[in-house]
């Protein structure tokens, strides 16, 4: 794997902006007028107690849930009304916990499916029905490249279900990478992992997704402080604070909230 360094954030180049984002479930407001602005290349973490609306926010950005009110801009385009798959095609990738790979398919097929999604404009519907997958050069080249990048080229024909823990994690990140995202949403990628496993995952993300803008939901505050360019703190659906790790750490409201145990 080639070692690359994350480029410094280019100020003023906004990749994602949300404007007054609201999501209600019946009477309950899960996301309450959230305004976010993410710069291209930024590593942004979202923290907050359970029920603060972090996952809902990701669901709204990725399109898994429709918004109740507000607007989402991606690369300057209003994407609020788009379906999840349209958003993926515009460059919003979403990574899941590792149990979410296609367990019955081989490692290669997992990655190829993602690559195929990117390359699908290169063939017509008849080809897509009758030309076997091994005949698509660009798609398979991309698949090979990514398998190599995440270090799974040796076990590409294994079924995903039988992979070891670490390999599955690589696969999951490889799949996201193969969708060619500009922005990747990670929802607690390290949940349930030991300290070493967590570190391994984070290293892999840092290593493989150097060109991408990253958004991370994470409960491990130390890790967040160490990794993030900026941190957004949510509480009860609203933004409590936002800024660099230092700014957030020194924020009175955040300190109060955390010292106060951040109401569950």
């Amino acid at each position: 794997m080639e070692a690359q360094e994350r480029e410094p954030v280019a100020a003023g180049d906004t990749i994602l902006r949300t404007d007054g984002l609201v999501r209600k479930f019946g009477e309950f407001t899960a996301t309450d007028h959230v305004d976010l602005e993410i710069e291209r290349g930024e590593f942004r973490s979202i923290i907050g107690p359970n029920g603060a609306g972090k996952t809902t926010l990701f669901n709204l950005i990725s399109g898994a849930l429709p918004v109740t009110d507000g607007t989402i801009y991606f690369d300057g385009e209003d994407i609020t009304g788009l379906s999840p798959q349209q958003r993926v095609r515009r460059g919003i990738g979403r990574s899941f916990q590792i149990s979410n790979v296609f367990g019955g398919l081989s490692v290669r097929e997992n990655v190829r499916l993602a690559a195929q999604s990117v390359h699908r404009d290169e063939y017509n519907i008849v080809e897509s029905l009758f030309k076997t997958t091994d005949k698509y050069e660009r798609m398979n080249e991309r698949t090979d490249r990514i398998l190599e990048r995440v270090g799974l080229d040796d076990i590409a024909e294994e079924e995903a279900d039988v992979l070891a823990y670490g390999d599955r994690r690589r696969l999951e990140i490889g799949v996201v990478l193969a969708t060619d995202p500009d922005l990747v949403l990670f929802d607690e990628p390290t949940a349930g992992m030991s300290v070493e496993e967590t570190q391994g995952t984070i290293d892999l993300i840092e290593d493989v997704l150097v060109d991408q803008t990253l958004m991370l939901i994470e409960h491990d505050i130390e890790l967040v402080m160490e990794l993030s360019d900026n941190i957004t703190v949510l509480n009860r659906g609203e933004i409590l604070a936002e800024g660099t790790p230092e700014e957030v750490a020194n924020n009175q409201a955040v300190q109060d909230a955390y010292l106060g145990g951040m109401v569950e």
Binding site: A64, Q85, A114, V118, K131, T132, T133
Partner: protein, 667 residues
């Protein structure tokens, strides 16, 4: 006139109340344990038969006693069914309940024939509830009034116990959100038997009161089960209130409005209503939120790792060769009928394959595949009868029209998932089935032309294998192979075999293509496929179109095979049977359905030779299959592998095992 209207309303209420009782049990059973209980109709019939048996020795006065005792017996049977057959299936996809209860329908129905014989009998009832009374100058049947009053009291009693008892509270909560109830620390599973038994008893009660005026006959269960499902879907799965509203609505609609004033629309309107409701408000009139997705796993066939690809291909080729030899032995080694039977097996093999393409690869359970099979059969028949004798034109039309209708049905249906998809496809198939009867003949250019031939069907067709006069008539050519001459049906065998092989290779090719990869990813994890950027609805719809086209082809072949077509070819039992074949053979493999078709027809053929009660045996086999061998026959080698000398060790069998069909073998 006013009196007439009142009488019509009374008729509607009478039937409506019976429907309410029938649907209430079905609905609550579904709501609480997600079981689609096709056997509910048979429990309804059992109630009437037990009442018949109880009343016979004592005469009409025992009617009231039977009204209490018979439902209790059926309730106990319901509990037993739940304990011993349904319970092993919890956590699996509702599809397995369809197969299980389909098997139970065969078993219970045949037991009724075995014990009580085939005829209809009337249920004696006391004089108190016979005859007519005059109300405001209107002659009203006392028994109708009795049905309305007794049925309403019963429904009210059930409602009250659901509303005001602890059990009722738990059941109601469970039918809305099982997980929540579990989170409260209540073991909802323990209530399942109770709910099932109660539902069965309610059905039995409905069966008895209806039998008092309609007679008891072995087919009475079959005749109510489809309307009962429509009502449950209309009212909202799991909703008692919905069952009441839906039952009365359908009863009154059918008896008081459609029959007297729009008889032409009867049989169509309730299905149109059901489709409309499912599209606009999938949860039904009174259902709460769309149901939790507790659909459970579809257990697909073997992993395909048992044989290496080369061996598989060779085995497939050998099978095709072997099949190609079958007609040669006709008349010498075995009778020609074996070939006839094999043709039917090949045609249904293709039909089952088409269903598996949508069911095994995208997880969409179509309960209406008879629509496409019947459509193909009728398109070919009508084309040959009215347009051209050319088989090529007729079959091409059958494929194109089936594909087009599949696109339309898919366009409307695929947005709803799971059981709702099953129900909406069932509704479309029933609409088509009704249309066959209504489109007997049409006026065209001032001339009456035969279309579907109504209940008679179309026969005496004379197909021509060619186009524009160039081609052959299978009956007038012969190919001599040694001492055997191949002609007519023996030649048609090769047409059917070729169609199946082409269908198989075509679908296998598709599964190796990018399109097929996406289908497999949808089966594995649809949400994840969405987040790879795929519009899964589009892919499912395409798969449905391909499936519909292949089913249409198989139906068209059936017409060519027999030279005749009947409405029976499109009835819902056809959809049920083909699902049975797919699961019997092994879903999610391309050769599994073909094995399923072979097994189904062979069993039927062998069993009918030995006993009139073959449905009992067949039904029992399905029940055992679904409980003990849900992955179908194709999983047998894998299960046996560890015990065979030199075979591969036991593979991981606890997970759902999908098959990688890129290595799928021949037939």
């Amino acid at each position: 006139m006013v009196a007439g209207v009142i009488q019509q309303l009374l008729d509607g209420l009478t039937l409506g109340v019976v429907y309410v009782l029938l649907a209430a049990g079905l609905s609550v059973i579904f709501g609480v344990m997600h079981v689609i209980n096709f056997a509910h109709g048979e429990l309804f019939a059992l109630g009437a038969y037990f009442a018949l048996a109880l009343i016979a020795p004592f005469g009409g006065t025992a009617f009231f006693a039977a009204l209490i005792v018979a439902p209790l017996i059926v309730g106990v049977i319901g509990v037993a069914i739940e304990r011993y057959t349904v319970q092993p299936l919890y956590g699996r996809n509702p599809l397995y309940h369809i197969l299980l209860t389909f098997g139970l329908v065969l078993v219970i129905n045949d037991l009724i024939y075995l014990i009580w014989g085939p005829g209809a009998s009337s249920l004696a009832r006391p004089d108190v509830i016979s005859g007519t009374v005059s109300v405001l100058g209107l002659g009203v049947g006392v028994y109708n009034v009795f049905i309305i009053v007794a049925g309403s009291l019963m429904a009210f009693g059930v409602w009250a116990s659901l509303e005001y008892t602890r059990y009722g509270l738990i059941i109601r909560a469970g039918s809305q959100d099982r997980q929540m109830v579990r989170n409260l620390g209540i073991n909802i599973d323990r209530y399942y038997s109770l709910v099932f038994g109660m539902g069965a008893a309610l059905a039995a009660f409905a069966g008895i009161i209806l039998a008092g005026t309609r007679q008891v006959n072995p087919e009475m269960g079959m005749s109510v089960i489809i309307p009962a499902f429509v009502i449950v879907v209309l009212g909202g799965l799991g909703s008692f209130k919905g069952a009441v509203a839906g039952g009365l609505l359908v009863g009154i609609l059918q008896e008081s409005i459609l029959r007297p004033y729009f008889p032409f629309l009867e049989g169509m309107v309730i299905f149109l209503l059901m489709i409309g409701i499912l599209l606009i408000r999938p949860q039904g009139l009174f259902g709460t939120e769309a149901p939790e997705d507790e659909s459970g796993d579809l257990l697909t066939g073997s992993r395909g790792g048992f044989l290496d690809p080369q061996t598989r291909n060779r085995l497939g080729l050998a099978m095709i060769l072997l099949l190609a030899l079958v007609p040669l032995g006709a008349g010498t080694l075995y009778s020609t009928f074996i070939v006839t039977l094999m043709i039917e097996i090949l045609i249904w093999g293709l039909f089952a394959l088409s269903l598996d393409f949508i069911m095994g690869y995208t997880g969409l359970v179509s309960l209406g595949h008879a629509l496409f099979y019947g459509l193909g059969a009728y398109v070919v028949a009508i084309t040959i009868q009215d347009v051209t004798q050319s088989v090529i034109v007729a079959v091409a039309l059958a494929i194109v029209i089936s594909a087009a209708i599949a696109w339309f049905v898919g366009f409307l249906s695929i947005r709803v998932a799971g059981v709702y998809f099953a129900m909406i496809t069932l509704a479309f198939a029933e609409l088509f089935y009704n249309a066959i009867y209504r489109l007997d003949t049409i006026e065209l250019f001032g001339e009456e032309r035969e279309v579907t031939g109504g209940s008679e069907g179309i026969f005496g067709l004379d197909p021509f294998y060619g186009i524009a006069g160039i081609g052959v008539d299978l009956d007038s050519i012969g190919i001599f192979v040694g001492t055997t001459v191949l002609t007519g049906q023996l030649l048609f065998y090769y047409v059917a075999l070729a169609a199946l092989v082409v269908g198989f290779l075509l679908t296998r090719r598709m599964l190796q293509s990018p399109f097929g990869s996406v289908l497999k990813s949808i089966r594995e994890n649809e949400q994840r496929a969405t987040f790879l950027g795929y519009d899964t609805v589009v892919y499912k719809r395409r798969a449905f179109v391909i499936s519909g086209a292949l089913a249409g082809l198989s139906g068209g072949l059936y017409t060519l095979f027999t030279g005749r077509v009947f409405p029976d070819n499109a009835e819902w039992m056809v959809s049920g049977e083909v699902i049975v074949m797919v699961i019997l053979g092994g879903m999610g493999t391309l050769y599994g359905p073909i094995i399923g078709s072979f097994t189904f027809f062979s069993l039927e053929h062998v069993l009918t030779g030995y006993t009139d009660r073959w449905r009992l045996v067949l039904g029992s086999i399905f029940v055992l299959f679904v409980i003990f061998l849900p992955r179908g026959l194709v999983s047998v080698p894998e299960l046996l592998a560890p015990y065979l000398p030199g075979g591969p060790g036991p593979g991981p069998q606890t997970e759902p095992a999908p098959e990688d069909s890129s290595t799928g073998g021949g037939d």
